[in-house]
């Protein structure tokens, strides 16, 4: 199976307090970058679907990671290659020149070139939280889609049974490949993914795999190609217009209460949560 995984770098959400806004624009210099966590889960999912967990080094499918951004994004792609992805593509652009719709249109063109059996992506990226690329892409491709996957079972790589995380429980759907699937946090549970190769009942370590040093070194030799955004989409018009950015108001100091009674009273009368 060939899987395409779109991957985006985001400003480290743990350092959100370092973000500065000048004249309505977010300053990106000096920010630390990380792969979007949900996209990392998608890479992990793709790797699990294309390997036998008993011998993970022997690849049994192809995982192609793709990212949009400037040259520095290569680092993010290289780290995905180090964890096991086979090939990387960087589509040269900048963050302010893209939106969810343009990404979906560009990915559609890329899918037509690469011809994957599955596009796996994070349910959303943690910067904009738009949660739309997967859905738009499926629509533009005319492919079935399953969003917020909490578990995936491959049926002979012809179809997938996807358990979707929805309010109040999970919803199982079967999608015929080729398809678009977006993943949620629980997909990286020990039994989140069942490939056609891995023995049923295998337990993966919780979370995303680590890249050993030799894999980091080997990743330098894996193919990473650059594609111009203009080669994929002729019309770079954005549907989302960004006005101005502003920081959320700083938190006000809290108050101290002397007794539990006073706390309960305030929760009732002021916070109105009881």
């Amino acid at each position: 199976m060939k899987i395409l995984v779109p991957l985006k770098r985001v400003a480290d959400p743990d350092n959100a307090n370092k973000i500065k806004v000048t004249a309505g624009k977010i300053e990106t210099t000096g920010l630390e970058w990380k792969p979007n966590p949900f996209d990392e889960y998608a890479v992990e999912t793709a790797l699990r679907l294309t390997e036998d967990a008993a011998t993970p080094k022997a690849r049994k499918g192809e995982v192609v990671v793709v990212s949009f951004g400037p040259k520095e994004v290569d680092t993010t792609l290289r780290s995905a290659l180090a964890t096991g992805a086979d090939k990387a593509i960087r589509i040269d652009t900048t963050d302010d020149a893209i939106d969810g719709d343009l990404l979906a249109r560009a990915l559609k063109a890329l899918v037509e070139k690469e011809k994957p059996d599955l596009v796996l992506l994070g349910k959303q990226q943690v910067e904009g939280d738009s949660n739309q690329v997967g859905q738009l892409l499926a629509e533009y491709l005319g492919w079935p889609q399953a969003t917020f996957a909490g578990s995936i079972v491959s049926e002979a790589d012809k179809s997938l049974v996807v358990s979707r995380e929805v309010d109040g429980g999970s919803l199982k759907v079967r999608v015929t490949l080729p398809a678009v699937v977006s993943v949620d946090l629980r997909i990286v549970n020990p039994k989140g993914v069942q490939s056609v190769f891995t023995k049923a009942g295998h337990n993966y370590p919780e979370g995303v795999r680590f890249a050993a040093l030799m894999a980091i070194m080997a990743a330098k030799k894996k193919p990473l190609t650059e594609v111009k955004l203009a080669d994929l989409v002729s019309d770079p018009t954005l549907k989302v217009k960004t006005g101005a950015a502003e920081l959320p108001p700083s938190r006000k100091a809290g108050i101290k209460v002397k007794t539990v009674q006073e706390l309960v009273a305030k929760l009732k009368t002021e916070a109105k949560v009881l």
């Binding site: 290289r78 979370g207 040093l213 030799m214 894999a215 980091i216 070194m217």
Partner: protein, 380 residues
């Protein structure tokens, strides 16, 4: 600030180790330091994440890489894990295994190195004795040959990971007096006559266990001898060079962490109507800390680079260790001072770093011995 020798590959390695330490060490580091232990499973967890085998050949289960990668990985483990004791406990193989790799036979490497790098066995290095540490050539633990065995008699002390070590690379006297009579034996847990006589309580490094080991009529098979009989001294001395660079690297990491903590505290803490970082006396203190740190990092990085180029760096490694441990003592002391009363409290990170820092002018060769090494090699 990374070392000057670092490449994109080192940055990726840092990211990987950071993720490991943030997930498997940082949430528990404080507790482990207080209870004086970390779970054994951390070894296998580290092995699985490719962290334990950094700097060791792939043929024996390592993940490849050189001294530069080891320095970077151990720094990141300290910066992101916030537990120096755990880092050094987890890393005791970095002094126990090199003599096996360098002087051991193929069979010994497979028997001893492979399970340690898989995280299944814990290894330690035992040289120091109650009667002497710096004076390696005078060590008194005797190993008498008896057929296919050495009969070992003696005591070793201050042994990192000694309490739970499954194999101990041990310096023993097989021959006459002086450095010409020393050999290295791998002594395994469970060998009759080998016991952990004491678990030692220390100033710092609490999460790492430190032991006194006793050998009483302990019969060690001759096949556990590393290299030639009576040739152990050179192995010990070669091991010291890299150990001193590792220790210098830990000092740089601890200094960096204490400096970052101090900068953060000085910005947040307010006194007399403004953050204390606004006072010149503290700004200058922080500037001195940053400068000392940059200097120690530069020297440590340079010596590591020269070592990797194949230069003999015995004297320079001693200089790096002294420079870095002096820096670390100074920076941690200043960090406690900046934190004021909070800096004296057990729940404050810099309080612990201050205690951790005290070992570095002592362990791996004291500050005084380093100067003796330098004086001798410089020829004065």
């Amino acid at each position: 600030m990374p070392y000057l020798f670092e490449t994109e590959e080192h940055a990726a390695l840092r990211a990987n180790v950071r993720r490991f330490a943030a997930k498997h060490i940082a949430p528990y580091g404080f507790e482990w330091e207080e209870t004086g232990d970390f779970p054994r499973e951390l070894y296998s967890e580290a092995a699985r994440a490719g962290v334990l085998g950094i700097g060791y050949p792939e043929a024996y289960g390592g993940t490849g890489g050189d001294l530069g990668h080891v320095l970077v990985a151990s720094e990141e483990m300290i910066l992101a894990g916030h537990s120096v004791g755990t880092t050094v406990g987890l890393g005791s193989h970095s002094i126990a295994l090199p003599p096996i790799l360098r002087f051991g036979s193929e069979a010994q490497r497979n028997e001893f190195v492979v399970p340690v790098l898989r995280g299944e066995k814990v290894s330690a290095l035992a040289i120091t004795e109650p009667g002497g540490g710096s004076d390696v050539a005078a060590l008194a633990t005797r190993a008498r040959r008896d057929g296919d065995y050495y009969v070992v008699h003696g005591t070793k002390t201050f042994i990192t990971s000694g309490c739970r070590a499954d194999l101990v690379t041990t310096a023993v006297r097989t021959g006459g007096e002086g450095h010409g009579g020393i050999s290295l034996l791998v002594i395994e847990k469970g060998t009759a006559g080998f016991t952990v006589s004491k678990r030692l309580r220390k100033t710092g490094w609490w999460a790492s266990d430190t032991a006194e080991l006793s050998f009483d009529e302990c019969r060690v098979p001759v096949r556990n001898l590393l290299g030639e009989e009576n040739q152990g001294f050179i192995a010990i001395m070669l091991n010291f060079i890299t150990e001193r660079l590792y220790l210098a690297g830990q000092c740089v990491a601890i200094g960096e962490l204490a400096y970052r903590e101090s900068m953060r505290y000085a910005r947040d803490r307010r006194a007399f109507g403004r953050p204390i970082a606004g006072f010149q006396v503290l700004r200058h203190k922080l500037a001195d800390m940053a400068s000392a740190l940059a200097a120690a990092r530069a020297l440590t990085g340079e010596v590591a680079t020269r070592h990797l180029r194949g230069e003999v760096v015995t004297s320079l490694a001693a200089m790096a260790k002294n420079t870095a441990s002096d820096m670390c003592s100074f920076v941690c002391d200043a960090a406690v001072q900046i934190h004021g009363g909070a800096g004296y409290m057990r729940e404050t990170l810099v309080e612990r770093l201050y205690r951790d820092a005290r070992i570095y002018p002592i362990g791996g060769g004291t500050r005084e011995i380093m100067n003796e090494v330098i004086a001798k090699l410089e020829g004065f």
